[in-house]
Symmetry: C2
Subunit: 139 residues, 2 copies
DNA sequence: CTGTGTGCAAACACTTTGCAGGTGT
DNA sequence: ACACCTGCAAAGTGTTTGCACACAG
């Protein structure tokens, strides 16, 4: 069976280069969101910083990845299981663990509707829950 | 009557310098949150970049200001009406207008409790609502 | 007077961009 | 063959730090 990363690139009409496949694979094997720095460390000496920036931007534009701020408001990226082909469903929460600093999608939780004051038009909601994940909580 | 900025500095046991007072006043007369860049522009030629960074950091530590990410996940700062003396009540939403890019506290809205999966310990919730404010919505 | 804050400049970190050569289709 | 991607280096932008002097208490 073909590699899932390659399928994704195909689906989104992006050229299939070694670097893109490797980067996508990194996301696919991690449940947690990754920052540019995470990737830079993982691919140190093998993929150039600039290339990582360009890939991330392109994946964002294409809609393969989405952005999540971590507890320092640093940008992390994640493939979103619920999103397909530009149809994003991002009204779910993200959990940021203050112990291991991992950021994960909590697909189960849908952000409750927010009763905004009159006159406001809401287009997107971002909910970040901070605390400790089961692993760090028991440690 | 004494200046509110001066009262604040006093309350938090911070030295009352010209620069701090000016920066605090900027926050007090703006309903919207301010970024470092906003302040740098406002005080161009009068307060040094580095000083602004140091003041913001100190105000954060002291608990006078809190941080909110805007739509680019850039940090903005705001005095929080509901917070007093280190007792923060940040479980309210922030609204980020995609038209004028202003970020404001919506004190009226309390973030609903989130039913997290078992094992997670929640310590803070950040809710950012994006859309258009009444002013930009009608324009 | 003492300790802290400020401005300036340099250092540092993060991100973007131009260009020449390499790669996917 | 062509268009696009990559690596490298340089430029751009945002943030921090060291130091000498100024200021608040």
């Amino acid at each position: 069976m073909e590699n899932q990363a390659e399928i994704l690139l195909n689906d989104f009409n992006l050229r299939q280069t070694n670097q893109r496949v490797k980067i996508l694979q990194a996301f696919l094997r991690n449940s947690a969101a990754l920052s540019h720095t995470d990737l830079e460390e993982e691919f140190a000496g093998s993929i150039d910083r600039a290339t990582i920036y360009r890939c991330l931007k392109q994946f964002l534009d294409a809609g393969i990845l989405h952005r999540i701020p971590d507890e320092q408001f640093q940008t992390k990226y994640a493939v979103c299981a619920a999103c397909d082909h530009g149809h994003h469903h991002h009204d779910h929460a993200h959990f940021n663990c203050l112990g291991c600093n991992e950021t994960t999608c909590i697909e189960q939780i849908v952000i409750p509707s927010i009763p905004m004051p009159a006159g406001f038009k809401v287009s997107e909601k971002i909910l970040i829950v901070q605390g400790y994940c089961p692993r760090c909580n028991n440690a």
